[in-house]
Each structure stands twice: as C-alpha cells, then as structure tokens.
C-alpha cells in the first residue's frame, strides 16, 4: 500500500536554510545541500525547498541549489518560491527539481497551472496554498509570504487549481506556521475532502502526535515539517516509528 510521506521542508534565503517563526525572525541554520544529504540518508520520503525571499525581493529561483542537490540526492525534490511562468518550471526541472511549486503566481493567474500542467504533466505541478482563518470554517488565501490578503476562499481555490491540473496541494496554515501548536486540522480536512489530488499538511508541527493528526484527522496524504527535524528535536526515524505505532503506514 501507499505510505504516508514525511517531507522535511527547508526554507531557503540567499542560498542558506532558514526557518521563520510566523515568517519573520529568520535564523540561519545551514547549507541546503548538506541538509538535503542528511535527510536523504535519514530516510525522508521527499524534500521541499522553498525560496522564501524570491517573491518578496523579486529574486530568481535557486537553480544552483537544485543542481547541486540533484547530484547527491536520489529522492523526490520539490522547489518553490518565485515561480511565475511555465519557463520557470522548465528551468527548475532541468536544474534537478522533480516538482515545482506555484504560490502567488497561481493566485494572480490560475491559468498558469493549466499551461504548466499541459506542458510538463500534472505530476510535477504543486500549488502551495497559504491560508488564514477569517471566521470559523472559513479560510482565505494570503500571498507574498503571508503579507498580502486576497479575499479568495481557500477551499474554492483548491478546487480551482485541481481542475486546472495541479498534481498536488501544499497547504500551509498561516495561523499555525511557526507556532508548534499543530496543523490546522479543520482547514486540512476541508481542503483534503474538497479535492481528489494529494494534500500535504504544513504549518505548526511541534510534536510527533501532530504528524499523526494531520493524516488521521486532517486527511492529508503527506506531512511536512521543518523546525522539529531541522533543529534536531526528532529524527525522521523517530517520527516514522511513532506514526507506525499509531497505525499510520509509513516507509521504514
């Protein structure tokens, strides 16, 4: 059977790994390629690099990091941040990414998802949705690293991008990101139930039980976490063993 994926996410700025607390107060914590190698050896199921400064400072994406990682890691690699047009997807795929994640550009123009999926296949097109609770059971999309409100309903948007050919949704709760209070379960469940493509839960993991809840209560196909792995609170193996003991099928 298919296993629940555990995906360490490395937020990258200026070629270095950082992890924001609610997207501010960045702490420098290492070389992305070295981190990628460590996670590859540790048995992570996929890796995700997000170039968090790319949209805000209008920088290009990180081809060099992708290139160097692809030389050393033989596991699926998703890259996001500053991806605007289908040619950005092509360049990242050529550099060594396996999947490319759209965020702000998909909100501004959802057709870029259709154009990219038609050209490269849905399997490599991820849409990163950053959502904030606006009232109970209602979530709104935010872009530009959580700075910009859009007024767009997150569930409707998820359905839209799925219909445009997105292969996967990377769903981050802006309320929870960096808090260590756990995933936003109602949000994760609402999106996961609304679409027939895999949903990756993200934002707020502080304990291994949170990973389990993302799957059992949130309905996520994969769980993403950053700080709990990156600062050494838990290993990938500990996370997987904990999930397996709770009845969640993982690759051990």
């Amino acid at each position: 059977m298919l296993k629940t994926r555990i995906i360490p996410c490395l937020d990258v700025k200026d070629g270095r790994v950082v992890k924001g607390i609610n997207f501010v107060d960045l702490i420098d914590a290492g070389d992305p390629v070295e981190s990628a190698k460590a996670y590859d050896n540790a048995g992570a199921d996929e890796l995700c690099f997000l170039d968090i400064a790319a949209t805000v400072e209008n920088r290009g994406t990180m081809f060099d990091v992708a290139r160097r990682t692809a030389e050393q890691c033989f596991m699926p690699l998703t890259i996001g941040g500053g991806v605007r047009v289908p040619d950005d997807v092509r360049n990242l795929l050529l550099a060594g990414a396996d999947k490319v994640s759209f965020n702000s550009a998909a909100v501004a123009n959802p057709d870029v998802i259709a154009q990219s999926a038609n050209r490269f296949g849905s399997q490599c097109i991820v849409v990163a949705i950053d959502a904030k609770t606006v009232s109970p059971g209602k979530w709104e999309i935010f872009t530009h690293g959580g700075r910009k409100s859009t007024g767009i309903d997150a569930v409707k948007f998820a359905k839209l991008v799925a219909s445009k050919g997105a292969g996967e949704i990377l769903l981050t709760s802006m309320d929870r990101d960096g808090t260590r209070d756990g995933y936003n379960i109602p949000l994760t469940r609402a999106i996961s139930d609304a679409v027939n493509i895999p949903v990756i839960a993200s934002g707020g993991v502080g304990s291994l039980d949170h990973l389990i809840e993302g799957v059992t209560k949130g309905g996520a196909s994969a769980v993403l976490a950053a700080s709990i792995f990156h600062f050494g609170d838990f290993t990938i193996k500990q996370a997987k063993t904990h999930m397996q003991n709770a009845g969640v099928a993982v690759r051990l």
Partner: protein, 211 residues
C-alpha cells in the same frame, strides 16, 4: 560501453542522468550521455527512455524528432538492453487510452488505462512510496526484496495482456503494474532515479544486464 538516455523534451532528465552516472561510475562504465540524436542513440549499449506527462504528448514529442524512434527500435531489435521509465515504459504498450486512443510501440501487449482504485478515498495521482510485490524473477531485480519501496507518481498504468510480461506490482485499491519485462526490454512505472537505495540498485543491475 555507452549508456544513453533519450532526450525528447519530456521530463526531468537531470536526476535520471545523475543517478545513472553515479552507478555507471561505480561500475567503471564511463560517461552517461543524454541525447536526442539518432546517430548517438545508435551507439548505445544500454538505452534508457524516460518520460513524464501525458502519453500522447510524449509519443508526439518522440515522433517529432526525425529518425529517433527508428534508432530506438533498431536498438531493441538488436537485442541490446533497453529500459523505459514511467511514461517511457507505458509507451511500450500496444495502446494508450489517456485523452483518446493512441498507438504505443506494441512491444508489451496491453493497454495503458486510468487507475481506478476500489477505495474512492484514494487520491489520483498515485503519488509516493509503495511496496513492491515481485511476481517474476529478473536479473534487473537482483537483490531487490519483496516489499522494498519504490517511488511512484502516475495516474495511468500499463495493464499487460500476458501475465508473463509482469515483473512487479503494487497495491493501490487494486493491483497496479510496477514493472514489466520481455526479452531485452524492461520498464518500470516507478522512478528508480528517485527511489534511493532500491532505485540505485536497480539501475546498477540494469547497467550490468546482458540479456
């Protein structure tokens, strides 16, 4: 010895190139070449056809490069080892039924059909790590054990007409074809270049394979 990966504007060749190069280096087999030139493809000892995206698009892109498919077909007919990965494997079938009815290479009898899991909660695409059930012994699967995991990402699968062509399956709300083989050709639905140690083992076996 030359190992050549066919480039026809489909998919992520860099990760395939790097993984085959890594194992080629370990085996002392030299440079892995990525090429769309039929004259270079003709020089291959081991030929790899990757592919992602839609069946018809891959077929069209491959057909758009003059003489390329002919060179691939010559390689296969000469008895030298050939490997198809993902849509590269699916194109070996008789027909592809993704967005219409399209001819495949007809090397492996069967059709490429949409996955339809019997559990409606299962998402499409089938994306992630699944454990292999090995149905037939094969040199390229040497050292790969029952229930080893491989990385999949696909919405369609090759349903083989002849059971003898089936090498491995996985369960995803029903049986899904994971690998096929016949004579000097092998195909994997999963991505060996993304399947960590299991994938590297398979690549090494393929590069050592003398069918």
């Amino acid at each position: 010895m030359s190992t050549i990966i066919v480039d026809y504007n489909s998919g992520n060749l860099r990760s395939a190139e790097k993984s085959f190069q890594r194992m080629s280096d370990e085996l002392g087999l030299g440079q892995v070449i990525v090429s769309s030139d039929p004259n270079i493809v003709r020089k291959a000892d081991h030929l790899i056809l990757p592919g992602v995206g839609a069946f018809a698009d891959c077929r069209r892109e491959l057909g758009a490069i003059d003489g390329l498919f002919g060179a691939i077909e010559e390689h296969v007919k000469s008895g030298k080892p050939f490997m198809g990965i993902c849509v590269g494997m699916q194109m070996m079938a008789t027909r592809g039924l993704e967005h219409g009815d399209h001819d495949g290479f007809d090397w492996i009898k069967g059709d490429v059909k949409l996955i339809s899991p019997n559990n409606k909660k299962l998402k499409i695409p089938h994306m992630g790590w699944n454990n292999l059930n090995l149905t037939t012994e094969h040199p390229v699967f040497n050292g790969i054990k029952e229930n080893d995991h491989a990385y999949f990402v696909h919405s369609y699968q090759l349903k083989t007409a002849n059971k003898a062509d089936l090498l491995a399956t996985v369960d995803y709300g029903g049986i899904i074809t994971a690998a096929v083989a016949r004579e000097n050709i092998i195909g994997t639905q999963f991505h060996p270049e993304k399947s960590q140690s299991t994938g590297l083992r398979l690549i090494s076996n393929f590069l050592s394979w003398k069918p």
